[in-house]
């Protein structure tokens, strides 16, 4: 295996609020390898988007990185001064935001907005930049003639394609996609995902794909990280996660998700609500909702165990060890 392009170690990030500290990301570690798609799944408040914004160093003022490292080519992005970080952001590591289709400036032509991004980062200027935008439009399946149009003349799916073109304009090594298709209808979603995966392969880019949708993650990812309440509870190959889940939360999540394919199985109801991260549960954060929880789960945070090479889970009573 090639060296990881990105390596996240013990990342911890809190938001300070009037009511106290929100433990948004807690001791999260993972590696991202060249050419792979790492799916990050989780529900609201799981910390999946917070991890992305921390990697990009695009955090609001009340966010505090409490610890950890984000290594890229031997450099810890978290310790870089802001002006040096600017040389990494978008050029080395780029991001497509959730509801990104609404982030285009309505009063500028779409093409000009992408040219501006490239000029700011010194990637290309003038005619060369225009030519590059035309290429990018072709790549994401947009008619290059559309570059001289305004965002309101685009449909939702077209805008999302333009945003992908913009994220790719500086040729990043790592692309973070945060729910890029959540607001789109399934037919458009399918087209965008297909296109995104083709580009990812063609450009040999590593991608982090963040979503709450287990079905989407099953289709796009080579590996999957499952997050719950600020913690990464399980990570493994897509097959490991879907066919041999170990963490009780992963198992429950898969059983609660409906599908139109195959037999209609009974859906599992997970009792309770998502925890309040101002005061997360002690021990395993899933224990108040877990059918398998025992005393130890309430007391001590479970450590990661390796079940298969690269398949790790932090659970005191993993699936398949009912009496352990």
């Amino acid at each position: 295996m090639r060296e990881p392009v990105l390596s996240v170690e013990h990342l911890t990030m809190h938001y300070s609020t009037r009511k106290g500290d929100v433990h948004a990301v807690d001791d999260v570690s993972f590696e991202l390898h060249p050419g792979e798609v790492l799916g990050v799944v989780g529900e609201s408040g799981s910390g999946k988007s917070s991890v992305a914004f921390t990697l990009m160093r695009l955090l609001p003022e009340n966010a505090h990185i409490k610890g950890g490292h984000v290594w890229m080519n031997g450099v810890d992005l978290l310790t870089l001064p802001e002006d040096e970080m600017r040389r990494y952001r978008w050029k080395r590591i780029a991001m497509i935001f959730q509801a990104a289709m609404n982030t285009l400036n309505p009063v500028y032509k779409v093409g000009d907005q992408i040219i501006e991004a490239m000029e700011t980062h010194g990637v290309a200027y003038g005619e060369a930049a225009r030519k590059r935008v035309a290429e990018l439009f072709e790549m994401v399946g947009l008619d290059p003639a559309l570059m001289d149009r305004y965002p309101h003349e685009y449909s939702g799916g077209m805008r999302q394609r333009a945003i992908i073109a913009m994220a790719l304009s500086c040729d990043p090594d790592v692309l973070i996609a945060d729910e890029p298709t959540t607001a789109l209808d399934v037919i458009v979603q399918h087209r965008i995902l297909k296109n995104l995966l083709q580009l990812q392969k063609r450009l040999d880019m590593a991608m982090i794909y963040i979503t709450h949708d287990i079905a989407v993650v099953a289709e796009v990812s080579t590996r999957i990280a499952v997050m719950y309440a600020g913690r990464l509870v399980e990570i493994g190959s897509t097959e490991d996660i879907f066919l041999r889940p170990k963490h009780r939360y992963t198992e429950a999540l898969l059983q609660a998700f409906p599908s139109i394919h195959g037999e209609k199985k009974t859906l599992l109801t997970i009792p309770g609500e998502l925890p309040n991260l101002l005061n997360p549960p002690r021990g395993c954060r899933f224990h108040p909702r877990c059918a398998f929880a025992t005393e130890i789960c309430k007391e001590r945070e479970p450590e990661y165990r390796t079940f298969n090479p690269g398949h790790l889970a932090a659970c005191w009573h993993p699936v398949g060890e009912e009496n352990a």
């Binding site: 529900e43 609201s44 449909s155 799916g157 209808d185 399934v186 037919i187 458009v188 979603q189 399918h190 087209r191 709450h212 949708d213 287990i214 079905a215 989407v216 099953a218 289709e219 897509t238 097959e239 879907f242 066919l243 429950a252 999540l253 898969l254 609660a256 998700f257 409906p258 599908s259 139109i260 394919h261 195959g262 209609k264 859906l267 599992l268 109801t269 997970i270 009792p271 609500e273 998502l274 909702r289």
Partner: protein, 342 residues
């Protein structure tokens, strides 16, 4: 199943004017709902699915008469005694909701309620949970204060917000999304409606709380004998919530059948394409996706031929773009399709 449907919708239309130009003259109309017919049996749940802009939410709003139809009739079954009390005229045991006004319309809403998508925006933030849930009773002038209080407590218990006393005097912002949607369900069911229109009631909820709300809606429907019109874009959720599914495209129902029949044997080319694009949470399953051209447009003055013609992968020139939009016909066993080629 009874042969007397609870709700019969016939030729329902809603056109919205599009105003343009200096004097904002109306030349164009959005055909949001265009000649839609279906019926729902007592205790049956019909799913209305389709992409954004297909007219599914407009249809729901017409049925509770939050909107007035441009044309068409909405028949709602009622007992003669009830009808007399409420002062409405019955035709063969049905009241025509499309033309109701004033007092009769208000009385009609005792039987029909709606649950909205966004549990964060469908509640007045200044009202307590008690006020929110009791509101339909207050509006309809049902019960004394004591009775209302008792009924609210009962409903909160039904929707799993227990003990009720600990929720009654809290405000919506103090509850989670799942809890708020439970409050919305309690509010909708407090006056014992027989028909509930649920517009994407679980689409804003996280997976781990969603199943609980879906289960709750089904349990309460069984218990109180409620029929649902379940509006959703999520076919996997519709599979679990609906006995039948109707697929809408640009204001028209293009296919309607029993849920499993529709999912496993779709006949309309649009339904086939839509189903094939739904991602499957199983990495070992490789589905074949039917690609269709273009995207959904806005139905402004649509052509009179098949609405799906310009995107249809199997369309026949000279037939599909010449003849009128095909009627929704039973192709056997209650499987309705609107396509010249089926």
């Amino acid at each position: 199943m009874s042969f007397q449907p609870l709700v019969k919708v016939e030729g329902l239309k809603k056109y919205f004017p599009v105003s343009k130009g200096l004097f904002r003259k109306t030349h164009d109309y959005i055909h949001a709902v265009d000649d839609v017919s279906f019926s729902i049996q007592p205790r049956e749940s019909l799913g209305l699915v389709g992409e954004s802009g297909c007219g599914k939410t407009t249809t729901g709003k017409l049925l509770v008469r939050l909107l007035t139809p441009t044309a068409g009739r909405i028949f709602f079954r009622m007992e003669e005694e009830e009808a007399r009390e409420e002062g409405v005229r019955l035709e063969d045991g049905y009241v025509d909701v499309a033309t109701l006004k004033g007092r009769a319309l208000k009385n009609f809403r005792r039987h029909v309620q709606m649950i909205f998508q966004d549990p964060y925006e469908s509640m007045n933030p200044r009202l307590t949970i008690y006020d929110i849930v009791a509101e339909p009773m207050a509006v309809q002038g049902i019960g004394s204060v004591m009775e209302r209080e008792q009924r609210v407590a009962e409903m909160l218990q039904h929707v799993g917000l227990t003990p009720p006393e600990s929720f009654m005097f809290r405000y919506p912002h103090e509850l989670s999304g799942g809890q708020r949607q439970r409050v919305a369900i309690a509010r909708a069911l407090i006056i014992n409606p027989t028909f509930v229109i649920a517009d994407e009631p679980t689409s804003m909820l996280d997976v781990s709380v969603r199943t609980g709300v879906m289960q709750l809606m089904q349990d309460l429907a069984d218990r109180f004998g409620i029929s649902y019109l379940y509006i959703t874009h999520d076919l996997a959720v519709a599979r679990y919530m609906c006995d039948k599914i109707a697929v809408m495209y640009l204001g028209k129902i293009v296919e309607m059948a029993e849920t499993e029949e529709l999912l496993h044997h779709p006949l309309h080319p649009y339904t086939k394409a839509l189903l094939s694009a739904v991602p499957i949470p199983d990495p070992t399953y490789k589905r074949e996706v039917i690609e269709i051209r273009g995207s959904v447009s806005t139905p402004i003055n649509p052509p009179s031929y098949c609405r799906f013609y310009n995107r249809c992968p199997v369309a026949k020139e000279g037939l599909c773009n010449v003849q009128e939009h095909p009627p929704l016909e039973d192709k056997g066993g209650g499987h309705y399709v609107a396509c010249h080629l089926v």
